[in-house]
């Protein structure tokens, strides 16, 4: 009896120990998850709190006299000539009439600085659209300059002493006068989505980068998806299993881990220098990124093909299908969800790359929005990098706003991959 009792006691103690170990393990798991979650939360709060103001832009209302002697001095109404008139002078006159006591040359310069230099181009477009407004007085909303924008958004502290503020008392007084007359307004920053890059933060937009990213991804997808899937099918189903295919397999796995900058160097040496492709163009960028994505797609596609039960293939072959028919009619359609998931994840990876693009000249100031894959372009992460490096304070919020757009795309792509897997994947 006592023996039994003793061994029961021992067993009990061991059980307790085992349970405690399990509890500890669970706690570590929860702790790790909580830590990861906290980091993500911190990242998101910092980006969003910096960036949400970037989607707003301050506008100032002005009464502009469309003076004919400035817009169209010779009265010809010729758009080609009116294109290059000095529209900024109209903005300056409007500001001068609004604040007539500003006479000093230096103060005037500051006064003109309240309004973004894009105002002149806005007026130009208005006149070219409708020449009948020449000679009339128009009430227009024009963009505030980046410094005024920062002041209105509260980034610059009005209570700080003047010497330590990037904006002077005079400028604040002018803005406050305008605010009292309800001539200042914060609006949704559509310009951010419709404009290309600019050195003036208030005029800078991500459309150039978005289109560049889209074109680059298109080239990447068009090259890497068919090539990757074909390679996977061949390697998985048709290739003989010998030393050579084994070597190919090892190399594919190896390529998936090669740092992306290496692909950039390869692209510079082969696509640009040997094939003479245009520098900074999405077509070259897309090809480099396709090289980078290929191993990911091949590995994912092979895994997806392997997961289809062999009975399906065997049944097809049993009723007389050739091997190719069996693969393309039965195995491939069933494996497609898995292949697509891998492709989307590979594309999401490629969307976030900057390093390989550095070598082929896509890290550059490019103001014009590209329209074909052969036009110079940048991509979203490059735009983020370029803005993060700019001295103007207003670029801080633009950087974060661009990151939010990029993250939005990445989350959508990854969610799509999860959804596809959930919806279409079959369990055998």
């Amino acid at each position: 009896m006592t023996e039994l009792k003793e061994s029961m006691q021992k067993a009990h103690a061991r059980l307790k120990k085992r349970r405690a170990a399990e509890k500890r393990f669970k706690m570590f798991g929860v702790g790790a998850l909580a830590f990861a979650f906290l980091c993500v939360l911190m990242l998101f709060t910092s980006i969003i709190s910096n960036g949400y103001t970037g989607f707003k832009q301050s506008y100032i209302q002005l009464d502009v006299v469309m003076d004919e002697t400035v817009v169209d001095p010779d009265g010809s109404r010729d758009p080609a000539k009116m294109m290059f008139s000095n529209y900024n002078a109209l903005v300056k006159t409007a500001l001068k009439t609004k604040f007539p006591d500003v006479t000093n040359r230096r103060d005037k310069r500051k006064l003109y600085g309240l309004i973004s230099s894009s105002a002149g181009y806005d007026l130009r477009d208005m006149v070219l659209d409708d020449p009948s407004i020449i000679g009339t007085t128009q009430t227009v909303w024009v963009m505030a300059s980046d410094e005024v924008d920062m002041l209105i958004k509260g980034v610059f502290d009005r209570t700080q002493p003047e010497s330590t503020r990037p904006i002077t008392n005079d400028e604040i007084a002018w803005v406050e006068t305008l605010e009292k007359e309800n001539r200042v307004e914060k609006r949704f920053n559509t310009n951010f989505f419709t404009a290309g890059d600019s050195r003036e933060p208030e005029q800078a937009g991500i459309q150039g980068a978005l289109v560049g990213s889209a074109l680059t991804m298109l080239v990447t997808l068009a090259l890497s998806f068919p090539l990757g899937v074909m390679a996977a099918i061949y390697l998985e189903e048709f290739a003989p299993k010998n030393k050579f295919t084994y070597l190919v397999e090892v190399n594919i796995n190896n390529l998936a881990a090669v740092p992306s900058i290496v692909f950039g160097l390869l692209g510079l040496a082969i696509f640009l220098n040997l094939f003479g492709m245009p520098r900074s163009a999405p077509v070259a960028g897309g090809m480099v990124l396709a090289l980078m994505t290929l191993p990911t797609i091949i590995i994912a596609a092979r895994a997806a093909l392997k997961s289809i039960p062999p009975s399906i293939m065997e049944a097809a072959i049993g009723v007389g299908a050739s091997k190719m028919q069996a693969v393309f009619h039965h195995q491939l359609p069933l494996a497609l969800p898995g292949i697509l998931t891998g492709t989307i994840i590979g594309m999401a990876q490629a969307l976030g790359e900057t390093a390989p693009l550095l070598m082929i000249g896509m890290v550059a100031f490019i103001a014009d929005v590209p329209s074909t894959p052969f036009d110079p372009a940048t991509v979203l992460p490059v735009q983020v990098y370029l803005w993060a490096d700019s001295p103007e304070r207003a670029f801080v919020e633009k950087t974060s706003a661009a990151i939010m757009v990029l993250l939005g795309f990445l989350i959508t792509m990854n969610a799509l991959a999860v959804l596809l897997r959930k919806k279409l994947e079959r369990r055998w």
Binding site: F84, R109, G113, S117, Y121, F156, D157, Q160, T164, R165, P166, S198, R199, E200, A222, P226, L272, F275, G276, M277, P278, R279, S280, V283, G361, V363, A364, F365, I366, A367, D368, F374, P376, L386, A388, D389, S390, P391, E392, R393, V396
Partner: protein, 343 residues
Amino acid sequence: MSLKKTLAVAALASVVAAGAAEARDQIRIVGSSTVYPFATAVAETFGKTTNFKTPIIESTGSGGGFKLFCAGVGEEHADITNASRAVKKSEIERCAENGVKEITEVKVGYDGIVMANSKSGKRMEITRKQIFLALAKDVPNAEGKLVANPYQKWSDIDPSLPDFKIEVLGPPPTSGTRDAFAELALEGGCKQFPDIKALKKSDKKKYKAVCHSVREDGAYIDAGENDNLIIQKLNANPDAFGVFGFSFLDQNSDTVQGSLIDGKEPLFEAIADGSYPVSRPLFFYVKNAHIGSVPGILEYLAEFTNDKAWGDEGYLTDKGLIPMPTEERAKYKAAVQALGAGS
């Protein structure tokens, strides 16, 4: 399947064809990241006010810019390179080897390099000699012999300096800003020691090594090329100092303050008249052979050398450029105009 195949073949064929033909109708500029903000501002205005396309500007650093610029003549090579220092002899030779025989130098203006700390700390007054003693790898000791830098705190150098650890964040060795800082601040302080100055005549190589070497024991921290990062770190640590370009100080004057060097505050006027000791000229270089073959180069140069851009009240001063005196501007403008007359 056959459709996909034809599409793929067609895509590849068009890629190769387009790469081979298609003349370039857009100016390509490479070079210094310090000149980049100014060049891009000019390029943007140029693109908006003329019928030419906006030039493409890559920020590659001065050295990287010359490497691309000097690679040859032809549409696949850059037309203009920006530089935060004058071209080196070795670079001219490299250019000439690749057929780039004639290049035109245009000075753009000046840039000040500042040493700054957070506004929550005390503003520092320092001399170039003290900067050298704080940051050089080897410094002369009391007997004038060179020893590894023994100073750990600012106050070890001079009791008037603050009593905390020397910690300076600055650009990495590949940066033009670092080169200029070494040349102007470190060497400026270094040659105030008569022994070292004598070395310049007897052993120039050693002189350069002594005056330009920055200590590597953690007092000077490479903070990468991103100056915004340095400013963020200064705000987090009030005891640290940062080295960066004047335009970043100008834009962040609400959170950081520039140290007085040799009694001079880094102000726009002090840099423009040359009394602030750590300032350097900025340049760009034009490939003469490309003028005429790539459209718009002369017009771009005209926009850059217009007083509306680089003048005393031009839009580049808003970006932090410190303009040249009027006569100097006239000289470079004339040189640029002569280019147009020649072709």
